[in-house]
């Protein structure tokens, strides 16, 4: 029997039982559709996160921290990940240290991570936020996506960059309209003179507190868009960014965190962290070992990337496993359909054998039949998975757009995914066809010809 004839036989038989063929292929279609959309979601997440990391310069940024005890986090089980421990714990991370780090070959820039709590007000509304002091060079870098207005030109320029999400919290619908308007920053400071004469009793009895508030106004120069992935990991996406110049005018607590005070040495309070920008990822090891020699701890996101990649593989596997459940159900559907088909065509199989069909011919016909179901179901499943993903993507983006998030493709469809899915569907259907095909081939023609 020729190959083309076996295919024709199989297709003729499928055409004859249209409804059942359609239902069985639909089962495969749904299974493959689920698998394709699951995997494309995993691939999409991976692509988005990887791109966000690459675009934000995070790979070439090293965070330098003082050694010693770690400050507690809100969740005591959640430590800062993978901080490389230093040799010494008494090194203070002050301006001298920042200057020394800047001089290490391979370092483009180093600037302290200075932030202070403030009440941020715009027109009638107010929000508590951390104001981040960011040098102009960093604010102007490609890692900061300023969508409206501009970044500040120098460290001395009087103005701030705010995030779109903050503006939305402050009731501003159109970010462009806020550019040029003034924003209020209220900070707290401690009157050290009054502190000396105070005791707890007098504080409670209603005397004024040594804690003073002062409000400053700055023009909004630009509004940046928070990327959908990476989010607040990136300090350059803080709610309010202010250049070092005007930041110095603001009366505030002389430390970012109260924990910094515990690291004080000889009366000097260091920064809680210094951001170090590298020219290239290749310098990471060398720069890091120099910084460790100076007695500081480091944290680089590049370390995390392998783990992130591993996590994505794991996620892909879980998503694929969920999709596999649907495939297994579809495969059982194929087996059922094919076994039913044998029972219905029992006599026909006998006739074919009586006129000279060999076991191999019968096997082939049934094998091709289940293969055709898989091929058609798999192809339709790819289309279904693609269409469903497109729809989900539209809906999710519609809701996220209302919250000010940019449009993101949450699904990725590499060509290999489609080809792989169709190939996989064919494979599963052929495997499902093995038992029915063998059973059909074993039909005894004498028994089959007696059968009505």
């Amino acid at each position: 029997m020729r190959f083309a004839d076996a295919v024709e036989f199989a297709l003729a038989s499928l055409r004859k039982r249209r409804l059942r063929t359609f239902l069985t292929a639909s089962g495969v279609m749904i299974g493959i559709g689920a698998l394709v959309s699951m995997i494309s979601f995993g691939k999409g997440m991976q692509k988005n996160v990887t791109q966000a990391f690459k675009a934000s310069d995070l790979f070439t940024t090293v965070m330098v921290m003082p050694g010693g005890a770690e400050p507690p986090s809100a969740d005591p089980d959640r430590q800062r990940p993978r901080v490389m421990a230093p040799a010494r714990t008494d090194a203070v991370l002050d301006d001298q240290a920042v200057a020394a780090i800047s001089r290490i070959p391979g370092v483009l820039s180093a600037y302290p991570d200075i932030g202070f709590p403030a009440m941020v007000g715009f027109e009638g509304t107010e929000e508590f936020r951390l104001v981040q002091v960011v040098p102009a060079a960093v604010a102007a870098s490609r890692s900061l996506k300023i969508r409206w207005g501009r970044a500040y030109d120098s460290d001395a320029e009087d103005g701030v960059v705010v995030s779109r999400s903050l503006l939305r919290r402050l009731g501003v619908a159109d970010p462009a309209s806020a550019v040029g308007k003034r924003i209020r920053i209220t900070s707290v400071s401690i009157d050290l003179g009054r502190l000396a004469t105070l005791n707890l009793g007098s504080l409670l009895s209603g005397e004024t507190s040594p804690v003073a508030q002062e409000t400053y106004e700055f023009p909004i120069l630009g509004v940046n868009e928070v990327s959908a992935f990476g989010g607040e990991v990136n300090m350059t996406e803080s709610a309010v960014m202010i250049p070092p110049g005007p930041a110095r005018r603001i009366k505030r607590l002389p430390f970012s965190s109260v924990w910094d005070l515990f690291r004080m040495r000889d009366g000097r309070v260091g920064y809680s962290a210094v951001n170090v920008k590298l020219g290239s990822l290749r310098d990471l090891g060398a720069v890091r070992s120099r910084v460790h020699d100076m007695g500081y701890a480091t944290f680089a996101l590049a370390d995390q990337f392998d783990e992130i990649t591993r996590a994505f593989y794991f996620m892909d596997m879980i998503l694929a496993a969920v999709g596999m459940i649907a495939i297994i159900v579809a495969a059982l559907g194929i087996v059922n359909t094919m076994v039913m088909s044998i029972l219905e065509r029992f006599r026909e199989i006998g006739i074919m054998k009586a006129v000279g069909a060999g076991d191999r011919d019968i096997r082939r016909i049934f094998f091709f039949e289940s293969g055709a179901i898989g091929l058609v179901g798999g192809t339709a499943g790819c289309a279904l998975g693609w269409a469903a993903s497109l729809l989900v993507n539209r809906i999710v983006n519609f809701y996220l757009a209302r919250q000010g998030m940019p449009f993101v493709d949450y699904f990725a469809f590499p060509v290999g995914l489609f080809l792989g899915a169709i190939g996989f569907s064919l494979l599963v259907s052929l495997i499902s066809g093995i038992y029915p095909a063998r059973r059909a081939a074993r039909v005894d023609p004498v028994v089959a010809l007696r059968h009505d």
């Binding site: 020729r2 054998k353 060999g358």
Partner: protein, 234 residues
């Protein structure tokens, strides 16, 4: 058939026993036949005498429990499944009481079936199938499905199909069992004509004494799975 014609079919001590549960039911016992090429042999006997079993064994649809079958110098009883399929395809054509046409296929497509399994290409097999239908007088019914054909027409299609790959042996299992007497005579006449014109060896199982006497050159009567009588038409 010339008196000195070589043997086409020879069986020696052929037996077939079916196992029904734990009980061995003998269907055929010790059948030894010699059928010269080009002869028309009728096999008669009461129902259950083993006629159909004998034909199934000769046609390669079933395998004997013991004994040998030799057709055209080849030991059919020693063949494996694939060789038996080839034998059914090329060596022996079969027709049945209930015609056994594939309902979903037209007359022409039914005749094409053995050619498909023989790997004949489409144009050639269409040509050959049409020619065979013409031979049995059904060229005008080629595009009809079995349900649209009369019993006699269906059996003619079956005959055309049995001859598709040019076998030397035609086995007919009660070919007139479902037909009226006039059509029965036409069908057996058709077989006899093929027997004469093509030197086709025909072995026909039949109840119909009249037809058997009229057309067969030799008759074997079976009783309880054994040869009860053998000879020429009485």
């Amino acid at each position: 058939m010339s008196p000195t014609a070589p043997l086409l079919v020879e069986t020696r001590s052929l037996s077939k026993t079916y196992l029904v549960g734990d009980v061995r039911v003998p269907a055929l016992a010790d059948i030894s036949l010699a059928v010269p090429e080009g002869s028309f042999l009728a096999v008669t006997g009461a129902s259950g005498s083993g006629k159909s079993t004998l034909l199934n064994l000769l046609g390669g649809l079933d395998t004997p429990s013991s004994g040998t079958i030799e057709v055209g110098g080849t030991i059919v009883s020693a063949m494996d499944r694939e060789a038996l399929a080839r034998y059914r395809r090329f060596g022996a054509g079969m027709i049945f009481q209930s015609f056994n046409l594939v309902a979903a296929r037209t007359a022409l497509e039914n005749v094409e079936l053995p050619l498909i399994f023989a790997g004949v290409d489409k144009t050639e097999r269409k040509r050959r199938a049409a020619e065979l239908l013409d031979k049995v007088g059904l060229a005008h019914r080629a595009a009809h499905r079995p349900a649209e054909l009369s019993g006699g027409e269906q059996q003619r299609v079956a005959v055309a199909r049995a001859l598709a790959n040019g076998p030397r042996l035609l086995l007919a299992d009660e070919p007139t069992g479902n037909l009226d007497s006039r059509t029965s005579r036409e069908i057996v006449g058709l077989l006899a004509g093929l027997n004469r014109e093509r030197n086709l060896t025909v072995i026909m199982v039949s109840h119909e004494e009249g037809l058997v006497r009229e057309f067969a050159q030799a008759i074997v009567r079976l009783a309880d799975g054994r040869v009860a009588a053998a000879g020429g038409p009485a």
